[in-house]
Amino acid sequence: MEASTREAYGKTLVELGGENENIVVLDADLSRSTMTRLFATKFPHRFFDCGIAEQNMMGIAAGLAASGKTAFASTFAIFASGRCFDQVRMSIAQPLLNVKIVATHGGVTVGEDGFSHHSIEDIALMCSLPGFTIIVPADAIETAQAVRAAAENYGPFYIRLCRPRSPLVYGDDYRFEIGKAATLKSGDDATIIATGLMVSLALEAARRLKGEGIDCRVLSMPTIKPIDEDAIIKAAKETGAIVTCEEHLEHGGLGSTVARVVAKHRPVPMSFLALKDKYTSSGKPNELLASHGLTVDGIEEAMRHLLDRKRA
């Protein structure tokens, strides 16, 4: 079953808006795509379309937050992170204001729009800001809970959503917690740690590997910062090898963050599935992911190589 993370965001905003009068929402002329339009229709006086001016939008969000509001600001991930990095740094991050940047259209699965719209550096950029919490939900169920958690916890958040509908990986009984990994499959031969859209691929790869007699643990890592160090250290100790998988450059994303924890606490062989260090091009989402090896086959292959290194 598939569902849209963006739609889950829009619907959750409407719920939150009904519960809390202090919730305000800003967008930069993309409310039909980010789905903040759902909130705008219900609560027009608490919605501010800032036009195509992301820098100004972040400043306005900061000013609203400094006046006691919980401000959600949305646009595409490429614009939310890079275009107004200094505004986010100066006006939101350093003063630790209560702004929730919910960025849609993350990664390359935006597809045909091409490199100008492919957000491949945003996690690195946002993780570099002290004080920010960075969340990349794996599906619509997690998105709804993460958005709610952001509203209920003080401080700046960056939540990265994607354009396509994505497979549901969690059941209705799932409970998202900020900074906690979710073990979606147990196993002791090695661990796959994935985030966002890659979680469903990781689960499928683990299912196939099981058929070959390789029993992989699968950790979904929705919170990139602060990362769940305990789950990573435990996986390193108990399985002795880790593959990370993300729709982001290898530099500064999930893999780098996990590697830092592993290197500090329990060095084990690791393998990194991520976007290659180059700019992307137009294409269908699956073609683009495949061109970077971000496929079920790619994860399986990486795991087989990694296990060879583990045994060596």
Partner: protein, 300 residues
């Protein structure tokens, strides 16, 4: 659904609300007369010289040019309370040209937000008085600034919050004229008019200089008044060192409904010290001990 933690700067709010003190009682600031403000302006200028000389760095030029504007706001026009810097009904002052921090600190100290002696700690390690304003460190500072062009956007958020909360506080923003080179200023200018923010007044310190020289040579912003006007603003031109003109303009701005007002205040960079006036060397350089001594003699 209360947040688990909260903005430390908002913590005073609940206390003041529960105390049920009237706005007049909370706003302890007595409005100074023009004569008293002229004395205050000189005092602030002396502080700027002393502070930057002691620190050995800082931005005296653009601090000296804004003195009368800040004096009028903090000692006559604004409703604020140094004993409760986070009073929810206070008028807000956003210093967008964050390098004029020495002036703002001097005004905050004279108003009672900070001990006067603390001014000596400007730019020192561990001081609450950072090189550029830091909202998290200094009582009375609304915004972390220093990267130019961002204050007007921040002020829009505060202004919209007043509308949402049915509060009658006003929002004042001080911009530099060189700062108007930044594109974000114009994004914000457009938005202020679009949102019809008549509770917001911007003031641009038109000292006509920036680091590399005269603004007309570095990046010509003229016709500045026409630009703001065409962006949907009411514009008022004043002599930025004439307190009566500043007070009248700020009062006029309060009466204008349905759109924001900008006061273009023509000033002299380094105003009040002969050898600093119109001298770009003093944009970002502190006076030496000897220069400071000379400056203070002029400011007796």
């Amino acid at each position: 659904m209360p947040p688990q933690k909260s903005d430390p700067l908002q913590e005073g709010d609940a206390a003041s609300a529960s105390a049920n003190i009237s706005a007049e009682a909370l706003s302890s600031q007595k409005a100074l007369s023009i004569d008293e403000m002229m004395v205050m302006a000189k005092t602030l200028r002396r502080h700027i010289i002393t502070m930057t000389a002691k620190a050995g760095s800082g931005h005296p030029g653009g601090s000296l040019s804004s003195v009368e504007i800040i004096t009028a706001l903090y000692f006559n026009v604004m409703r604020h309370n140094p004993r409760n810097p986070n009073w929810p009904d206070r008028d807000r002052f956003v210093l967008s040209k964050g390098h004029a921090a020495p002036l703002l600190y001097a005004a905050l100290a004279e108003a009672g937000y900070l001990p006067i002696e603390e001014l000596e700690t400007l730019r020192e390690y561990g001081s609450r008085l950072q090189g550029h304003t830091d909202r998290t460190k200094t009582p009375g500072v609304e915004m972390s600034a220093g990267a130019l062009g961002q204050g007007l956007s921040f002020a829009i958020g505060i202004s919209l919050a007043a509308r949402l909360d049915s509060k009658d506080y006003r929002v004042y923003v001080l911009l530099g004229d060189g700062e108007c080179d930044e594109g974000q200023v114009w994004e914000a200018a457009m938005a202020c008019a679009h949102f019809k923010l008549d509770n917001l007044t911007a003031i641009v310190d038109r000292n006509r200089q920036q680091i590399d020289g005269w603004t007309k040579d570095v990046m010509n912003t003229e016709p500045l008044e026409e630009k703001w006007h065409s962006f949907g603003w009411q514009t008022i031109k004043v002599d930025g060192h004439n307190l009566s003109q500043i007070l009248n303009a700020l009062d006029e701005a309060k009466q204008i409904k349905g759109k924001p007002t900008i006061i273009i205040a023509y000033t002299t960079k380094g105003k009040g010290v002969s050898f600093m006036e119109n001298n770009p060397d003093f944009h970002g350089n502190a006076p030496t001990a000897r220069e400071a001594e000379k400056a203070l003699e002029e400011l007796c």
